[in-house]
């Protein structure tokens, strides 16, 4: 698998700190929801830095969307969110990843649990599900520190309907019924499919979040083979 060059054709601010980059990638072979790409930046003296980002968009020809969360003092994310403009080339490798994926042929219920920027591959799954016209039952739990950190909130509500549960961990919006607190077993159980529905579970976010949620799901009786995880670094990429 070799490096390809895509061109930035669009840029959207998704939240206070997250940006969607829309890329046109000639020869893009298509991708599965949940897959990611490695993005490589090269300085003039040949120094390189590589990070991984999940593909946010449903398959759409040569169009690929990535979401980058800007990390204070990060090496790559401030460049991608702050310096990159429409027309710039971007080197990428992929799509890669065949385990943390959702395929439209899957008919069983789906539980998606996102921590912060971990929502990106799960949003891709929801978008792919909609694009494919799938009626697989879906529930999404999306844990963020505060409402200004939500990405694609309206779209996720539309795609998951009643199955969408945001969880605010630091600051809840005024009048929100649940006080700000970390995702716990009770909230998780109330917002996801129970084990006897045999859902495929996808958990994505920071390492600590993913491990805690995966443990809760397994304690609740879910088959570990049906719980797929992807751990992210702070800029929303797994690298």
């Amino acid at each position: 698998m070799t490096w390809r060059v895509g061109t930035v054709v669009g840029r959207r601010q998704e939240s206070a700190t997250a940006v969607t980059l829309v890329l046109q990638v000639p020869g893009w072979p298509g991708h599965l929801a949940g897959q990611h790409v490695d993005v490589r930046l090269t300085a003039e003296d040949g120094y390189t830095a590589t990070r991984s980002y999940s593909v946010a968009s449903a398959p759409d020809g040569e169009r690929v969307e990535l979401v980058v969360e800007s990390v204070v003092d990060g090496e790559v994310s401030p460049y991608l969110t702050g310096a990159v403009v429409v027309g710039d080339p971007l080197e990428l490798r992929g799509p890669v990843g065949g385990w943390f994926v959702w395929r439209p042929e899957q008919t069983e219920p789906v539980t998606l649990v996102a921590g912060g920027s971990g929502v990106v591959p799960l949003a891709a799954m929801l978008r792919a599900r909609a694009r494919a016209g799938s009626d697989a039952d879906v529930r999404l739990v999306y844990s963020v520190r505060s409402a200004d950190q939500l990405c694609f909130g309206d779209e996720l509500r539309a795609l998951a309907g009643d199955g969408f549960t945001p969880v605010y961990t630091r600051t809840a919006p005024p009048g929100w019924p649940r006080p700000a607190a970390r995702l716990d077993a009770a909230t998780l159980a109330g917002a996801t499919w129970p084990a006897d529905r045999h859902p495929s579970c996808y958990v994505c976010g920071p390492t600590g979040f993913v491990e805690a949620v995966a443990d809760l799901l397994i304690e609740a009786g879910h088959d570990p083979a049906r719980v797929r995880t992807e751990r992210f670094g702070p800029s929303g990429g797994n690298g």
Binding site: A43, G46, A49, A83, L90
Partner: protein
């Protein structure tokens, strides 16, 4: 041919100091690790030096502390391109540990709590160029930086300054360590930019 990312330079900022090629100056102290931080009980900590004939010398924590120690200020150069200048360490010079050891060995293999290994010529451990360091910046060396004790060999890239040092084995043949066996340079001189085996 790689695409150049317009205006990208990574974290690097000009240091104005003479640095080895390709390095940049940092003021923080990045923590890089290949695994979980080992937690070693000082009551059970030991350092073992084994010669090629199988002769062993051990030091307990108390015995290490009782050896003559040096306070040194050295520059650190990590192969990931950061350099940190003027770092203050306290430790026992390897010349002290090797004093009186009967050996014809030319190489050393260093092993660590947690499983890390690195190799270097025995000559590079001698001549006041290497320490078993247990103090950093006036305080006991923190576990994330290799405490209770690490090897310190500042004239080579920092991956040779093995954290959580446990044993040093003197050998007549060289044995590549953890990173040396997967592409990193066997010697690792920052001034000759010896980062990788193939470049």
């Amino acid at each position: 041919m790689a695409v150049i990312s317009r205006g990208f330079s990574g974290r690097r900022r000009g240091g104005g100091e003479a640095l080895p090629p390709g390095q940049y100056l940092t003021t923080d102290f990045p923590v890089l690790s290949a695994g979980p931080t080992p937690r070693v009980d000082l009551d059970r900590w030991e350092l073992t030096l084994t010669s090629e004939s199988g002769q062993r010398r051990d030091w307990s924590w108390g015995q290490l502390q009782a050896l003559p120690a040096q306070d040194v200020t050295v520059d650190l150069h990590c192969v990931t391109r950061w350099s940190k200048l003027g770092t203050a360490w306290r430790g026992v010079c390897l010349d002290t540990l090797l004093d009186g050891v009967d050996t014809d060995a030319a190489y050393a293999l260093v092993d660590c709590y947690g499983g890390y290994t690195t190799n270097l010529p025995l000559a590079d451990l001698r001549g006041g160029r290497a320490w078993v360091a247990y103090g950093y910046d006036g305080a006991p060396l923190a576990p994330e930086h290799g405490g209770p004790a690490r090897l310190l060999v500042p004239h080579l890239y920092l991956w040779k300054s093995a954290k959580w040092v446990h044993g040093i084995t003197l050998r007549t043949s060289d044995s590549p360590g953890f990173w040396e066996s997967v592409g990193y340079h066997n010697y690792g001189d920052p001034w000759r930019e010896q980062r990788y085996w193939d470049a």
